[in-house]
C-alpha cells in the first residue's frame, strides 16, 4: 500500500517514468507480434521443407517443367516412400499487392499427399477434394475470408484481373471444404486436384506450343517423401541419391531450405526485437533516474526506518519492490495497448489478401510483461542499494 502511495506521491514524475516503460513494451509487443506472425509462417515452411524433398527442373532449364515419368524413377531411389506431382499458379494474376508471406496461390496436388506432409490440414467446413472429380476446390482460411466463400459456393480461378485481355481463361470451382487456420502458407492456398492443375497448366502455355504439349505427361515439380520420422540429414542423403541416379531433375537438399528459413527468421526477429529492446532500455534508464530521485528525497525517511528497526535488506527490498512495480505497471499498460493495437489492426484493417500481420503468443506475453518487470527491478538495484547503505545517523539529520 505504501509502495503505491510512494509511486502516486509524485504523479507527473511517476506517469512519465511508467510511460517510458509503457512505450518500450508497446514497441516490444507490436514488433514482437509482427515477428511472431512472420515466424509462424516461416515455421510452416520449415515444417514442410524439413519433411519433404523438392524436385524440379535441372539447373539451366528455363521452363519449370519436368516429365511426370520421373516420378516412377524417383520412387525407385533407396529411401523414397512416395512422390507426388505438383502444380502451382498465382490465384490473382496481374494483381500486384504487398504481402508479408505467401500470396494467394492455386495449388494442385494429390489428396494422398496429405498423409505424408508435416503440416496436418484440418477442415473448418466441408471435406477434402475428391481425387477423381474435377471442378472442386478446398480454400485456406485467409483466401476463403478474402473472397467471402463458404462450402457450396463457387469461385472462378484464377481470379480475372480488372484489365484482363479478352482471351483470359478461368474456370468455376465448387468449394467443398474450408481449412482451419494454420498461420502459414496453406491459409492462402486454393487446393485443386491434379487433373485441374494440368488444365490450368494447359491454359497458361503460349498458344504456339499449347497444342504440341501433353500436359498430362509433365509436372512443375515433384514432392518426394521418405517414411515418417526420417531425419533431415537422411533426407539430404536421399536428395543426393536422386541427383545421382535420376537424370533431368534437380533435388534440393531439405537442409538448405530449412537453414534459409531459419536464418531469415532469426534475422527478422533480431531486427524487430532489438528495436523494441532499445526502447525498453531507455525506459529502464528513466526508472533508474526516478528511483535515485526517490532515494534522495526520502533520506530522512530511510534513516527513520532504520532507527525503528529496518535492516539493510528491508530498505533494499522496499525500494526494489517500488521499482519492480513501476516496471510491472509499465509492462501491463504497454502490453495492453500493444494487444489493443494488434487486435484493431488484425480485425478492422487486415492486409489486402485478408491475412493478419500480428500474432500475440503466450511466449510474447511472458517476454513483454516479464522483461518490463525484470527491467524495473534491475533499474532499482543501484538506487535501492544506495538507500539501504545510508548511515542512519547522517540520514536522520539530513536537511
Amino acid at each position: 500500500m505504501e509502495t503505491i502511495r510512494n509511486i502516486t506521491r509524485h504523479k507527473l514524475r511517476s506517469f512519465l517514468t511508467i510511460s517510458g516503460i509503457t512505450i518500450g513494451v508497446l514497441a516490444l509487443t507490436t514488433l514482437g507480434a509482427f515477428a511472431e506472425n512472420f515466424n509462424a509462417l516461416l515455421d510452416g515452411g520449415v515444417a514442410y521443407f524439413g519433411s519433404s524433398i523438392q524436385v524440379g527442373a535441372p539447373d539451366g532449364q528455363s521452363a519449370p517443367i519436368i516429365p511426370i515419368s520421373k516420378i516412377d524413377e524417383i520412387k525407385k531411389v533407396e529411401g523414397v516412400a512416395a512422390a507426388f506431382p505438383g502444380y502451382s499458379f498465382t490465384a490473382k494474376p496481374g494483381q500486384l499487392s504487398f504481402s508479408f508471406g505467401v500470396g494467394d496461390t492455386i495449388q494442385a496436388s494429390d489428396p494422398a499427399e496429405a498423409d505424408y506432409g508435416a503440416i496436418r490440414l484440418t477442415y473448418a467446413q466441408g471435406h477434402a477434394i475428391d481425387a477423381g472429380s474435377q471442378g472442386q476446390v478446398v480454400l485456406g482460411t485467409t483466401i476463403a475470408k478474402e473472397f467471402n466463400k463458404r462450402v457450396g459456393d463457387s469461385i472462378d480461378l484464377p481470379v480475372k484481373p480488372p484489365d484482363a485481355k479478352p482471351d483470359f481463361v478461368n474456370h468455376s470451382f465448387k468449394v467443398v471444404g474450408i481449412l482451419n487456420r494454420t498461420r502459414t502458407a496453406p491459409d492462402n492456398f486454393a487446393y485443386i486436384n491434379i487433373a485441374d492443375g494440368q488444365m490450368l497448366l494447359q491454359d497458361s502455355l503460349p498458344d504456339a506450343i499449347k497444342s504440341s504439349i501433353d500436359v498430362s505427361q509433365i509436372t512443375q515439380g515433384i514432392a518426394v517423401y521418405a517414411k515418417p520420422g526420417t531425419s533431415l540429414a537422411e533426407l539430404d542423403k536421399i536428395a543426393d541419391r536422386i541427383n545421382g541416379q535420376v537424370p533431368g531433375v534437380k533435388a534440393i537438399r531439405p537442409s538448405t531450405l530449412v537453414d534459409a528459413f531459419k536464418q531469415f527468421g532469426t534475422f527478422f526477429t533480431g531486427i524487430t526485437t532489438a528495436a523494441a529492446f532499445i526502447a525498453l532500455v531507455v525506459g529502464g534508464l528513466s526508472v533508474i533516474n526516478t528511483m535515485f530521485m526517490a532515494v534522495a528525497e526520502r533520506v530522512r525517511e530511510i534513516g527513520l526506518k532504520k532507527a525503528v528497526g529496518a535492516t539493510t535488506s528491508d530498505i533494499l527490498s522496499e525500494f526494489l519492490i517500488e521499482a519492480t512495480l513501476i516496471g510491472l505497471l509499465g509492462g501491463l499498460l504497454g502490453y495492453g495497448l500493444g494487444v489493443a493495437i494488434v487486435v484493431i489492426r488484425n480485425v478492422f484493417f487486415p492486409a489486402a489478401d485478408g491475412s493478419t500481420l500480428f500474432l500475440i503468443t503466450p511466449t510474447l506475453t511472458a517476454i513483454a510483461i516479464g522483461f518490463a518487470t525484470v527491467l524495473g527491478a534491475a533499474a532499482g538495484v543501484l538506487p535501492a542499494w544506495r538507500a539501504a547503505r545510508l548511515d542512519p545517523v547522517i540520514a536522520l539529520r539530513n536537511e
Binding site: L304, V308, L396
Partner: protein, 233 residues
C-alpha cells in the same frame, strides 16, 4: 540489574589529522524505569551518546549492555532487530511519514518485527493514551507540533521497548505544549516502567527528570538525582 550499562564507552571521530573525542570513557548504570535527562552544551557528546545507546553508532571502544546483552557482539541485522524490539526513538523534528496517517505512522515499527499481529490493537491503545483517538486517520500535515510529537511518542512505544531515547523532543514546540509532552512522558514512564533517556537544552524540562546527567567534552561532569543533589554512585 541495570537496564542499560555503559562501560568506558568511547566514540572518537577523525577530522583530518584531528581526533574528535565525542564521547570519552563514559561509564553509567541505568536502572529499569528511570527517567533521565542528559544535558550539556553543544558538542558535549549528548547526541553521540544517544546514537550509541540507540545502536545507530558503533563505539570506538568500551561496552554497551542493553538488557544484559553485549551489543558490541551484534552484527548489523541483530542491531536492527534490537532497535526494533528494545529501543524507541523520538526526534525533535518528529520524523513522521507524510504519506501515512496517525495509525499507520504509529504502526510503522511493527513492519520490522515478527509476531507483530497484535500491533494494531497496541497502536490504537497508545494513540488513545496520548490523547489522539479523534485524529487517528489524520495525516501529519493536519496535526499541530504537539500532536505530531505525541504520535512520535506513541510510535516509539508500539513495540513495547525497554528504553526510549528522546532527542530534544520539546525543541520545536511552545512552552505549554512542551510541559504537556513531559507530563505525558512521565505518565508513560510511571505506567509502563519504561526507561526514558531524554537529551535536552531546556533546563526546565531537564528539571522534570528524576536523574540528570551533565556531559562536558564527552565526559560525565555530574550525575545526580534531581532535587536531592546526591551524586549517583
Amino acid at each position: 540489574m541495570a537496564n542499560v550499562r555503559l562501560v568506558d564507552l568511547t566514540k572518537h571521530y577523525k577530522r583530518g589529522s584531528e581526533v574528535i573525542r565525542a564521547l570519552d570513557g563514559v561509564t553509567l548504570d541505568i536502572e529499569k524505569g528511570e527517567f533521565i535527562a542528559v544535558v550539556g552544551r553543544s558538542g558535549s557528546g549528548k547526541t553521540t551518546m544517544l546514537d550509541l545507546l540507540g545502536l545507530l553508532l558503533k563505539p570506538t571502544s568500551g561496552s554497551l549492555f542493553i538488557d544484559d546483552i553485549d551489543t558490541a557482539k551484534l552484527g548489523d541485522s541483530e542491531r536492527a532487530r534490537m532497535r526494533a524490539h528494545r529501543v524507541g526513538f523520538v526526534f525533535q523534528e518528529y520524523n513522521l511519514l507524510s504519506g501515512l496517517n496517525v495509525l499507520e505512522n504509529v504502526m510503522l515499527p511493527l513492519r520490522y518485527v515478527k509476531n507483530g499481529k497484535d500491533g494494531r490493537a497496541r497502536a490504537n491503545e497508545l494513540i488513545d493514551r496520548v490523547g489522539l483517538s479523534d485524529r487517528i486517520k489524520h495525516r501529519p500535515a493536519e496535526l499541530s507540533g504537539g500532536q505530531m510529537q505525541r504520535v512520535a511518542i506513541a510510535r516509539s512505544m508500539v513495540n513495547a521497548p525497554s528504553l526510549i531515547l528522546l532527542d530534544e523532543p520539546t525543541g520545536a514546540v511552545d512552552t505549554e505544549t512542551a510541559q504537556q509532552l513531559v507530563d505525558l512522558l512521565k505518565r508513560l514512564n510511571r505506567e509502563d516502567q519504561v526507561t526514558i533517556l531524554l537529551v535536552t537544552h531546556d533546563v526546565d524540562i531537564a528539571g522534570e527528570a528524576r536523574r540528570q546527567i551533565r556531559l562536558k567534552d564527552g565526559k560525565v561532569l555530574t550525575d545526580e538525582r534531581v532535587g536531592e543533589g546526591i551524586p549517583v554512585a
